[in-house]
Every structure is written in C-alpha cells, then in structure tokens.
C-alpha cells in the first residue's frame, strides 16, 4: 500500500460458517486517497461485510484488508481511530439527546471535533437538545454522518446510509458528504443501491455481485468504456458483459468498448449489465457446485 491509496483489499474472502457459501470471495481493490468510491451490488453481495471488515467488525476468512496502513483485524483500535463509520440503519441511542451523542463521541475519542459536528447539524437545523427518537429518519442519518465527520477520520465508511431516506434527505446527505470530503481530502467508501445518488457524489465505482468483485474503475471510465446495444444482430464480434431489460422491457446488452454499434451506456446501465453478468456467473457456479456434490454423493 502506498501513500496514494487509503484502502486496499488483497484476495479478501469471508465465510461466516464452514460449509456456508462465501459472502466475499477473492476481492481485490484499492481506493485512492481523496476519492469517493461507490460500493454497489444487490442485497447479499457482500457490501456490508466488506465495510464491516474495514473497521474490524468482521474478520476476513481469507486475504487482507488495509485501512490507512492498518490491518483492521490485527489492530482494531488503530483502524477505528482512522475510520468514521455511518452504519446501515441509524444506530443512535433513542434515550439520548443529540448533545449526549456528541458528548459520548468526545468521551470515546478525545480528538473528536465537536464544533465541526455541531456546525454540520446547525446547518441542517437539527436541534441538539432533542432525543434521537424525536428526529426523522433523514435527520438521524444526518446525525450519524455528522458524528462520522466529527471524528476527522481520514477514511469514511458509509454502509447504505441512504436506504431509508426520502429523495430530499438523500440529496442533503450527499451534499454534506461531498462538500466535506472535497474540502478535507478524506476518502469515502459509500455503499448504495441508488445509482443517481452515486452519479452525483462518487468518482469511482466498485461493483460486487455474489461476493465477488465485478467492476472497479472510475465512473467516467465506466461510462466511456461501455455501450448499450438493443439489437442482437449487432452483437457479432462484441464483448458482451451482460443482458438486462430496458425501461420498456426491451432486451439490452452491455458491451465493452468506446466505439461501435449502439450508444454510450449510462452509469445505471453499466451497473445493471455487470450485475446481470455477476448473477449469471453466480448461478453457473452454484450449478457447478451442486453438480459436484451430486457426483460426490453418487
């Protein structure tokens, strides 16, 4: 890992129990410092597992994760100090006020930048004196983000924080995230299902499917290097990534290459094509496994 990368995975695999399928398998990637990387994949793709591995909440079964130069499982305290984490569901204490949450953050992390977090919350008109359970879901997510930003950690891990938010709350959340990351040069890994949000906020894309990495490149590159073709006859000689239905149910194919038949792919189409390919590969792998086990049983 060099100075330009904030987060690295080398052949990371995670299996929760022996005999169970792998939640993550042979995942390699690196996240450049100062970038906002979108982590995309269907439910069960291993996004949360990967993020939890980065903060030392999950131990990789295979491979190695490095966060800002630290192996999270070997030195969880060190990794936690380097990470600001926004969990999937707002994890605030409903009995405590927002002020209490900030006090708690200061108590656990003496370098916590409380004025910074307070300023973020003031900008959003979120009162400090109210209990967490009196806030809306969007406000709770903003509090979670403000706390993560207040840690002034070089790496931000955001595990689907937008999932339960309305469009306006999502937009506000992303605005705060992008502003702060750009201003402070920190690095963010944002897991999300919502492609429009990713387009607005992120500069890199990491797609997971069936526990494997399907795509890892910049968003500009992703759109520039893929095309969408809606005519099967035009696919001859093209490298087809995957097929998926269009908005009107038409059959679309995502192909690799900047020029050729069809049109430039949108980010959503790039993601859909790779996810479709990943699903096919996972099914094929599942069939191979079941064929092997049937053979073994016979």
């Amino acid at each position: 890992m060099d100075e330009t990368t904030a987060l690295v995975a080398h052949g990371v695999g995670k299996r929760y129990r022996r005999g169970r399928p792998w939640a993550l398998r042979d995942v390699d990637f690196s996240v450049p410092r100062g970038s906002i990387t979108a982590l995309v994949g269907p439910n069960g793709a291993g996004k949360s597992t990967l993020i939890k591995g980065c903060i030392g909440f999950e131990r990789p079964t295979a491979g190695q994760l490095v966060v800002d130069g630290i192996g999270p499982w070997r030195d969880r305290g060190g990794a936690v100090r380097r990470v600001g984490y926004v969990p999937q569901a707002a994890s605030l204490y409903r009995e405590l006020t927002i002020d209490d949450h900030l006090a708690m953050a200061v108590a656990y992390r003496p370098k916590f930048d409380r004025p910074h977090a307070e300023a973020r919350l003031r900008e959003l008109d979120i009162p400090l004196a109210v209990r967490a359970d009196e806030l809306s879901g969007g406000q709770q997510a903003q509090v979670g983000l403000a706390i993560a930003l207040g840690t002034r950690a070089p790496v931000l891990l955001l595990d689907e924080p937008l999932a339960s938010l309305d469009p306006l709350a999502r937009r506000e959340f992303l605005h705060v995230l992008v502003t702060v990351v750009r201003a402070e040069g920190s690095t963010a890994l944002l897991s999300s299902h919502v492609i429009t949000d990713i387009e607005q906020a992120c500069d890199r894309l990491l797609v997971l499917g069936g526990g494997r990495k399907l795509l890892d490149l910049s968003i500009a590159e992703a759109c520039a290097t893929h095309r969408v073709v809606d005519d099967d006859a035009a696919l001859a000689g093209e490298e087809v990534v995957g097929r998926f239905p269009g908005p009107a149910g038409e059959a679309l194919a995502l192909v690799v290459g900047a020029s050729g038949p069809g049109r430039s792919a949108t980010l959503e189409e790039v993601v859909l094509g790779h996810l479709a390919a990943g699903r096919l590969a996972a099914r094929a792998a599942g069939l191979a496994v079941s064929a092997r086990s049937t053979g073994a049983a016979a």
């Binding site: 909440f57 936690v80 994890s91 209490d100 708690m104 108590a107 656990y108 992390r109």
Partner: protein
Amino acid sequence: MNRTTTRLALRLHRFEIVILAALAVLGALLALLVCSWLDGTGYTACARAMQTGAEPTPACISAQDAFYKIQSGSVVILTQVLLFAVPYLLAVLTGVAIVGREVERGTARLAWSLAPSRATWFAGRLLPLLAVVAAVGLLTGLAGDRLSASMIPGTNPWASLADFGSRGVDQAARVVFAFAVAVLVGAALGRALPALLVGTIVIFLGLGGGSGVDGRILASEAVPVVSATNYYDPANLTYDTGFLAPDGRFISYDEMLQQFPQPTDPNVPWNPPYPAAQRIVPGTRYPFVVGREVAVLLAGALGALTLAFALVRRARPG
C-alpha cells in the same frame, strides 16, 4: 471511564434505575418503620426474660400478641418483598441490557465505531451500573439486617445466621453476582428479552446451587454444644438435637435409645446419662461465614464479567 460516560450510562437506564431505586428506598424506609413498630411493642425485653425460663407476665403476653400481629401483617410482607426482589430485578434488567440491548438495537455499531478500545467502552457502561446495583443491594441488605434484628428479638444481625443469604452484605454480593451473570448472558445472546429469561434461570440455578453447596459446607462445620434448657436459639443454625458423650461425640436420640433403652414402665423416667446437646453452627460465626460467601460470590462475578468482556471483544456489533 469519565464523568460523561458515567452520566450517559446511567441515563440509558434512567427509567429502571429511578423506579427500582425508589422502590428500594421505599423498602428501606418501610423496614425502619416496621422496626420502630416492632420495637415499640416492648416484646424484646419480654422475649429475653422468657428465654431464661421466666413466666410471661400479662403485659408480656399483650406485647407478644401485638408483636406477632405486626410481624404477620401485609406491611411486613411488602417490605420483605421490596427488600429482597427489587435489587435482583435491577441487577437483571440493567445487566442484560449493557451488551445485549446494545447489540440488539444496533447502537453497538455506533459506540464501537467511536471507541477505539472496547475495554474502555465496556468499563464505561459497566462500572456506573455496577456501582448503582451494589449500592441498592447494600441498602436493601442493611435494611434487611435491621429488619431481621427486630423480627427476631434479642439477636444481633452480625452474630446471627438467621435469614442468612437474604440480608446484609451477603445479599449485596448475591445481587452483584446476579448482575454479572446477567451481563454475561446478555453478551452471549446479544438480545435483551431472551437474555432476561435465560439470565433469570441461570441466576436462579447459580444462586440456588451455591446455597445448596454452602448449606452442605455449613452442615459439615456444625459443632455439638451442651444445651441444658434445650432452648432453640434462632441466631444459630441448628441441625440436630441429641446428647453430648464424654468423648465429645454428638449422639442422636435414636442412638441414645439404642444404647440406653427407655424403661418399659411408663412411670419410670428415662434418664439418659449424657447431657442434652444441639449440633449447631453458632451465630457468632456469621462474619466468617458471610465473608467466605461474599468472597466466593465476588470471585464468581469477576469471572462472569471477564467472560463477558471476552465476548464483547470478539462480538459483531449486529
């Protein structure tokens, strides 16, 4: 652990702490009230006199009636329930929640992502509640001591094994043990309600089994003492009555009857050759017995909390 984490830990359990601590204080106040009623009957002096074989005077009989009327009244029962049940309730409710509720509600994700050291987090959550639980256990235990002294006239609670286990520092130690087991079960299950149910069963079995073992140890430590008047002293743990042989052996009634059969003529009195005796653990051994039990309970609590911390270190935050 600092002032903020202490304040927040207590605030997270404010409802349970306020309600149950108030009930414990109420129990202690009721105990003092009941003691003043019992002492006010004047029966204690009568009881002492009657223990020496004096005939009860009409005033004594009247005092005795008043005393037993109070003793069997509903206020005393309520007081005993409050003093005994409330500290355990507080211990179990707060104990299972420390880790179990955090993992269940997902708040552990936030806390553990902020606290670089889970030991610091655990200590910050545990110690303030441990202090509250121990204080409530001690308050109710000492109130139980005072109540026991008035309920059994003429006894000194520090030299009496009456009500052993349900009063005094022993009760406080039992409550601390229950709290530690509840924390461990909460950490093991990661869910508050199942931990509450399982924790209650484990505590019941643990304390019940411990009392059984303690009872056997105490029985093996019982010594024979001559008891000329055959007076049963409630301060002692009395296991048997019989006779003391010249060689110091305790002889039961059955053995004595075998050695010296009762005369067949009912008009001839049976005069066993050895003095009447009781096999007892004297109440004066209370400080040693309670000290030993408190040490074992606190060691058990420490073990449970160490195990709980080992689970917290490895736990996924949900």
